[in-house]
Amino acid sequence: MVNGSPIVEGFIEAINLIITLNPQVVEITIRSLYVSLTATFFAALIALPAGALIYFYEFRGKHAVVSTLQTLYALPTVIVGLVMFLFLSNIGPFGFLRLLYTPGGMIVTQTVLIIPLLMGLTVSALSGIDRDKRYTITALGASRFQTVTTIIIESRFAVMSGVLLGFGRAISEVGTVMIVGGNIRGATRVLTTAIALNTSMANYAMSIALGIILLAVALGVNITLSLVQRR
């Protein structure tokens, strides 16, 4: 490298960017949070009831469904990105929605991405209620509906942990949002794609600044997670 120490300089400049609330940094951070929080919200809306259904209803192949979900945790995000890209592109079945290269499309994709995770974690959160607890609920005279609500309330912290994990995965994910969002400045550029771009433009200060923020968000999620799990 020609410059003395671009890393140290970049770091100092990055701190400066954050402290002075650089409009670009703020804007990208807010968009990242907006996209991932919305995606987590919709994913939870679908995955929590679906996970509960899987847990409470006995059906053939239930075991297979649960292990499929667990396999999907490890689904490469780029694959999700590719599939969603093909769905949302103008030539795909949902092309008419014009969602490709929009925040909406990124939200849908992140939603799809974390639904298996949320569903699986919901099932295991509910399974965390042991047999004796379920017997106790029944023995106390709970109706079927009361049993379901009691179990859900009892596992609320574990379910919340799952949702937080899902959010963490959504916001730190780069492959799908790059493919589906297109990394459009001012429209679909989020923390991860902006870091990738700025690094490729050798704009290390901006990358480091956004990296610090992403790290802070991840750290925040983890701290909340451990607070929740301690309960």
């Binding site: 004796d132 607890k133 017997y135 106790t136 609920i137 029944t138 023995a139 106390l140 005279g141 709970a142 109706s143 009361q146 009691t150 309330i153 009892e154 912290f157 309960r231």
Partner: protein, 359 residues
């Protein structure tokens, strides 16, 4: 009046038969102790009687209702009963909310819940924890929370599944006292399973013994402990002497031959091949031949082993047959018992119980 009547109840998990041919009747207002080794099916039976799980077959009537025919009334029946489990179960909520659960399920009014929960916590001595998180309490306190959670619902029948197995002696005593009082004052019928024989004797009016997935014998504690029906029950209730014997005479009292020694028993022989069942504490040892002794069996013997089992001492004597006597440590000291010493053994015919040799 019988509140629970079970006949031929079976339970099968997969290809494991956990319960078979269970017959049991529980009378209103009694405390029935259900004893048996672990794995004998006590917990499963309790869950079936509390209608938590359906039996795989058999007849079960609870509070006069045929539960096989009237499945629609299970919830209703369940709400008239209560169950406390071995492991203290509390929910991740305040002590108040924990105790209120059953009442909320029954849609009790807010003021009623409030009154009853406070009363119940007062009764188990946990009022000061009313707002605490239940999971923060100790095991003994959690079990008291669980007990008051059951009691606030005023159950007519209370099932206790080894409720003190994991608790310290203090908490055990508290729980036992509460259960005994509830039975005495409110007339709640109680079915308590335990592997603690002493607890069974302390609390229960009647005892049922479960062995290998079925109720092997039910009766008064005296019957169970002194007149077990077979060798397995005898072994489980802690009989020290179970010795094979041959019936020699049935005239009046039964005479059996144990090795070279003839022993007289008050039990009519249940079979030709029998085993003699004698509780260690029923065997009396003497330093010299007692002149006044009215026991039907009196014979000299030699002490072969002295084994302290505080607060008792197990004394093995050779009298042509090996018999173990259980004497208090103090009496053993007074008799100056030691191996090789000659003693006299006296054994009333009524403490010599006979069971079939096989089984």
């Amino acid at each position: 009046m019988t509140v629970i009547e079970a006949q031929d109840v079976r339970k099968i998990y997969g290809d494991m038969e956990v319960l078979h041919d269970v017959g049991l009747a529980i009378r209103e207002g009694e405390i029935l102790g259900l004893i048996g080794p672990s794995g004998s099916g006590k917990s499963t039976l309790l869950r079936i009687l509390d209608l938590i799980e359906p039996p795989s077959g058999g007849e079960l009537s609870i509070l006069g209702i045929d539960t096989v025919k009237e499945r629609g009334r299970w919830l209703d029946l369940r709400r008239r009963m209560g169950m406390l489990f071995q492991r203290p179960i509390v929910f991740n909520a305040s002590v108040y909310d924990n105790v209120a659960m059953g009442l909320r399920y029954r849609r009790a009014s807010r003021s009623e819940i409030d009154r009853k929960v406070k009363e119940a916590l007062e009764a188990v001595g946990l009022s000061r924890y009313i707002g605490s998180r239940a999971t923060d309490l100790s095991g003994g306190e959690q079990q008291r929370v669980a007990l008051s959670r059951v009691l606030v619902t005023d159950p007519e029948i209370l099932f206790l599944d080894e409720p003190t197995a994991n608790l310290d002696p203090g908490s055990t005593a508290t729980i036992e006292a509460i259960v005994a009082r509830m039975n005495r004052e409110r007339g709640i019928t109680v079915l308590i399973s335990t592997h603690d024989l002493a607890q069974g004797q302390r609390l229960a009016h009647r005892i049922a013994v479960m062995i290998d997935g079925t109720v092997a014998q039910a009766g008064s504690p005296r019957e169970i402990f002194h007149a077990p029906k077979d060798k397995k029950i005898a072994r489980f209730v802690g009989v020290q002497n179970i010795i094979p014997a041959r019936v020699i005479s049935r005239e009046g009292l039964t005479t059996v031959e144990v090795k070279e020694r003839r022993i007289v028993s008050a039990t009519p022989p249940p079979a030709e091949e029998v085993a003699v069942v004698i509780r260690g504490e029923d065997v009396s040892l003497h330093r010299r031949e007692p002149g006044y002794e009215e026991a039907e069996n009196l014979f000299p013997a030699r002490v072969t082993a002295v084994e302290p089992m505080a607060p008792f001492v197990n004394v093995t004597v050779d009298c042509g047959c090996d018999i173990i006597a259980l004497v208090t440590a103090r009496r053993a000291e007074a008799l100056e018992l030691a191996a090789g010493m000659d003693v006299w053994v006296s054994l009333p015919a009524k403490v010599v119980h006979l069971v079939p040799r096989d089984g």
